[in-house]
Amino acid sequence: MVYLTRIEHFNAAHKLYNPNWSKEKNDEVFGKCANENWHGHNFELFVTIKGDPDPDTGFVYDAKKLGALVNEKVVDKLDHRNLNVDVDFMRGKLCSIENLVIGIWNELQPNLPAGVQLHCLKLIETSKIYVEYYGGK
């Protein structure tokens, strides 16, 4: 079993804001991340799949094809977008990095070719903050 990771990146705006709370409560909980006119980040996405190398190619899966798939299914929907406003799979959700990584998993996992197992998504929001998600509950 080998783990193969493809790294992609996107730039996006967002804010952390719970519409069920008052502005004061949002400011109290989310601080400057609740700024009403948004802020933004350079996000880095690490997509790790696992499997045994194919005897004919030596690949777990063609890393270039994996990159193209990640771009088509996820990055193209996120890059240079507003996560709260523009992204169908984040609609109605709090745009935390935790919810974003789960959303990305749910977009990507069903679209992987048969035999390719998604192992982990790592999503970096700033040089000091990142999350990892391994699927499941």
């Binding site: 990146h9 730039n11 996006a12 705006a13 006119n37 948004w38 802020h39 933004g40 980040h41 507003n82």
Partner: protein, 137 residues
């Protein structure tokens, strides 16, 4: 005679923006700025390097106290731009397109009056890990 030395302080801020020239229509903006012109903004982690160059002071050995420089950058730049929408929330970019170039010049102009005239100042601003600008050039 002592030698010139550059001292550099690194700071970060996260902000939303879009590139848009109000004198042009949407089609022209999209043609020139591509997805950077998308209406709902996107964002970046900006990495800022402030470089001060001069001869170390005889008494302190410092070109500039880096704690003082850090406090100055926080007060003048980070508090102004961090977790803000550069187009909507800042005076500097009400009428000016917030490209990395223009942001670097604005940062220089904000800091210059607070730094000893005998010292040279240079700004390097990373918009993404792959794109950065320097001013003056």
């Amino acid at each position: 005679m002592s030698k010139r030395v550059a001292v550099i302080r690194k700071e970060q801020f996260n902000a939303a923006h879009r590139l848009f020239n109000p004198a042009w229509d949407d089609a022209k903006n999209t043609e020139v700025f591509g997805k950077c012109a998308l209406p709902n903004y996107h964002g970046h982690n900006y990495d800022l390097e402030v470089r001060v160059t001069g001869k170390p002071d005889k008494n302190t050995g410092y070109v500039m106290d880096l704690k003082e420089l850090s406090d100055l950058i926080k007060q003048e730049i980070i508090n102004r731009f961090d977790h803000k929408n550069l187009n909507l929330d800042t005076e500097e970019f009400k009428e000016l397109n917030p490209t990395a170039e223009n942001i670097a010049v604005a940062i220089y102009d904000l800091l210059r009056p607070h730094i000893n005239k005998k010292r040279d100042l240079m700004i390097r601003l990373y918009e993404t890990p792959r794109n950065y600008v320097e001013y003056p050039a």
